[in-house]
């Protein structure tokens, strides 16, 4: 990592993005104190990051980090006891989470008996059992079917509502758009983009307006002269705004030409598009 400097606000969900080998895992390992930086410092709640903060951080790695031949209940108990919970406290928390995710039946099954998705759920429980204030999730939906992915997503939102700060590392951009408030994009060990998701989308927008119309229409010359038409088919029109032109101007022009409009929206770039564009630009530079 090179001169990486970032600041996380409490109780926000952050997306940590980057191509393979960019440095995401290295950054996470610095935060979780697996690695230590050659220079620079990390602060947690205003204090220099140290051993005492370990219990306030929960980390779920991308690869399954579970003992294959150990039973689910025993494994969760082991992780809880590592976090200095008493046996009774650990039992209560394990019971709570197994019931919440409806996986009580798995308590006496070994990890290798479970499917990949089921293991992921157990891994999630092991990560949040100690109620960390900072939660780092690396591809938490990996191997999950849509139903279970939805369950985990809801749990993430619930934890967020309770005040947990979440760092969410993923390659699935649709999850980023849905879940994250802010993102950090890393490439070659450097942060090349950061900020609020909506603000970034606005920043990267291409001033495109999509208009849905009722009938298949052919735009007349007048409309073409006044607008920059990008797409014109299947009851959908896409315009690129000219300089100084606004969406309302497009609307006015179409209405003047008796075009029946059923819907209109600004096309913002997806995080996926922004990711590709930014990384490519950065790599070229």
């Amino acid at each position: 990592m090179q001169d990486v400097s970032l600041s996380l606000e409490k109780n926000k969900i952050y997306g940590l993005l980057g191509p393979n080998g960019a440095g995401k895992t290295t950054l996470i390992r610095n935060i979780t104190q697996i690695f230590f930086p050659d220079s620079g410092q990390i602060f947690f709640n205003g204090e220099k990051l140290s051993e005492k903060h370990q219990n306030q951080i929960g980390y779920m790695p991308e690869e399954r980090g579970l003992y294959k031949k150990m039973k689910v209940g025993e494994q969760l108990m082991y992780f809880s006891r590592l976090r200095n919970f008493t046996k009774k406290e650990a039992e209560q928390k394990i019971d709570f989470w197994l019931n919440k995710l409806d996986i009580q039946n798995w308590r006496n099954k070994t990890i290798e008996e479970l499917s990949k998705g089921m293991q992921q759920k157990v891994q999630f429980v092991a990560t949040v059992l100690h109620e960390p204030t900072l939660l780092i999730l690396d591809e938490p939906f990996s191997g999950l079917d849509p139903i279970n992915a939805e369950i985990i997503k809801n749990e993430i939102f619930e934890l967020h509502q309770k005040g947990t700060t979440i760092i969410f590392s993923t390659h699935r951009m649709e999850n980023v758009e849905e879940i994250c408030e802010d993102i950090f994009l890393i490439n070659n060990g450097k942060i090349i983009l950061e900020g609020n998701v909506q603000n970034i989308k606005q920043q990267y927008k291409k001033h495109l307006i999509q208009v849905n119309v009722n009938n298949d229409i052919v735009l007349n010359e007048s409309i073409h002269a006044q607008t920059d038409v990008i797409k014109e088919d299947n009851k959908q029109l896409i315009f690129k705004l000219k300089e100084e032109q606004k969406a309302n101007d497009i609307l006015r022009i179409l209405l003047q030409n008796n075009i029946e409009i059923t819907g209109m929206m600004e096309i913002l770039p997806s995080i996926n598009e922004i990711f590709i564009q930014t990384v490519n630009n950065n790599t070229t530079a």
């Binding site: 979780t32 051993e51 370990q54 980390y59 779920m60 790695p61 980090g65 579970l66 590592l82």
Partner: protein
């Protein structure tokens, strides 16, 4: 499961050996026709339990055919014919049967007849019984070590030293490998990435070494108790057969009951010569620090390995000193004060096995203390180096590690 099963399996194996050994002995009743009349007393004491019995027939001369009729019509498996014997040329002794005589039985008969012929030949030359006994006497040397008279032979010291060295050797190999395997599993399963967010890598490594060591020690003690217990119960259920087996072994091995008595006495007094407190406390020390010294190396290697295919190449440098120690142990047992034995008991790679082998031979205290000091410091040093390798190795994925790279990790 193996903790319980192994002593039971050993017990089953012992029972099988007893059964095979006792059933291996042919069940024979042999009629003895002794025309010389010299061996009656001998054959009356040659029976081996129920499996080999001798029936001494009358010593009136009869033809071979008549004798064969007697043995075939009687309940005999064979006929041993002894003619009148010339002690200078004892020939003509023959065994008649429809079945081949087993080698053990043949040896038993030949040995006893030879013994008797030798005794009678000497008596014929006017050697009396006491003189004949004298020929069978063996000499023992009285040892005075550090002005202290030693009562027993050095065989017991050898056996004890060997047993202790062997126990340490087995423990190092078995449980050291277990440490390595466990760490590699955690690395390949990526569990270690979760664990090191909770505990420091050093704590993880030491916890694993101590934990597996404790399991191994418990297993060892359990095995010892269970094995001793089963072996104590064996005579209760298989006493007769064990006695028959012992009788067979004694008839083949011992020419003289006084020799057997002497050996037993040597064993007893040999045990008295051993300084038990020194032996046991030293054993505990070398057991623990030998294990720590080697287990930390296995831990480092386990952290560097990416999968089991690396095992052979990576563990080779660690196992070589252990194997050399085993070879050196044989030399040490024969010459416990040779320079090879001295240096072997000083170098930490071999001292856990070699010094413990030497201690029953009354190694000077300064040598033992020096050896213990070197091993103690070396263990701490090895743990430190292993921790450095472990810290980086457990999180290194996806590439083949070389020894050169491992060397670099020590200095990170």
């Amino acid at each position: 499961m193996l903790t319980l099963l192994l002593p039971v399996l050993i017990g089953v194996m012992t029972i099988a050996i007893i059964e095979i050994a006792t059933n291996a002995q042919e069940k024979l009743t042999i009629a003895v026709k002794d025309e010389s009349g010299l061996f009656e007393d001998k054959f009356r004491g040659m029976d081996i339990g129920e499996s080999l019995r001798f029936k001494y027939l009358s010593n009136n001369p009869q033809s071979i055919d008549t004798l064969k009729n007697i043995y075939q019509n009687g309940d005999y498996d064979g006929l041993l014919y002894i003619p009148k014997i010339d002690f200078e040329k004892p020939v003509g002794i023959a065994y008649y049967s429809e079945n081949e005589l087993g080698s053990i039985t043949q040896e038993h008969i030949e040995k006893n007849i030879s013994e008797e012929i030798r005794r009678r030949a000497l008596m014929q030359r006017n050697y009396n019984v006491d003189t004949i006994e004298l020929f069978n006497k063996s000499i023992t040397i009285e040892k005075i070590i550090n002005n202290e008279k030693k009562k027993g032979g050095s065989e017991i010291a050898s056996i004890f030293g060997y047993a202790c060295g062997m126990m340490i050797y087995i423990f190092l190999i078995v449980y050291g490998a277990m440490v390595m395997k466990s760490i590699t599993e955690e690395k390949t399963n990526r569990i270690v990435e979760v664990l090191v967010t909770t505990v420091k890598p050093f704590q993880l490594m030491i916890g694993k070494i101590v934990g597996i060591g404790a399991v191994g020690l418990t297993q060892f003690v359990f095995w010892a108790i269970l094995t001793i217990g089963i072996n104590m119960l064996l005579p209760v259920f298989f006493g007769d057969k064990m006695m028959a087996m012992q009788a067979m072994q004694q008839s083949n091995q011992m020419t003289n009951s006084s020799e057997a008595t002497q050996i037993l006495m040597d064993i007893s007094t040999g045990f008295q010569d051993i300084h038990w407190f020194r032996m046991l406390s030293s054993f505990v020390f070398y057991f623990i620090f030998g294990y720590l010294f080697y287990a930390s190396q296995f831990a480092a290697i386990g952290a560097a390995m990416t999968d089991d295919s690396d095992a052979q190449s990576f563990t080779f440098p660690i196992t070589i000193p252990i194997i050399i120690s085993m070879v050196l142990m044989s030399v040490t047992l024969q010459q416990p004060f040779s320079s090879a034995a001295f240096w072997g008991s000083m170098l930490p790679f071999s001292s856990p096995i070699i010094m413990i082998t030497r201690i029953p031979f009354e190694v000077p205290w300064w040598q033992q203390l020096l050896s213990m000091f070197i091993l103690f410091i070396s263990s701490l040093g090895m743990i430190y180096i292993a921790a450095k390798i472990y810290r980086i190795g457990i999180l290194t994925q996806g590439k083949k590690i070389t020894f050169k790279e491992i060397g670099k990790w020590i200095f990170y």
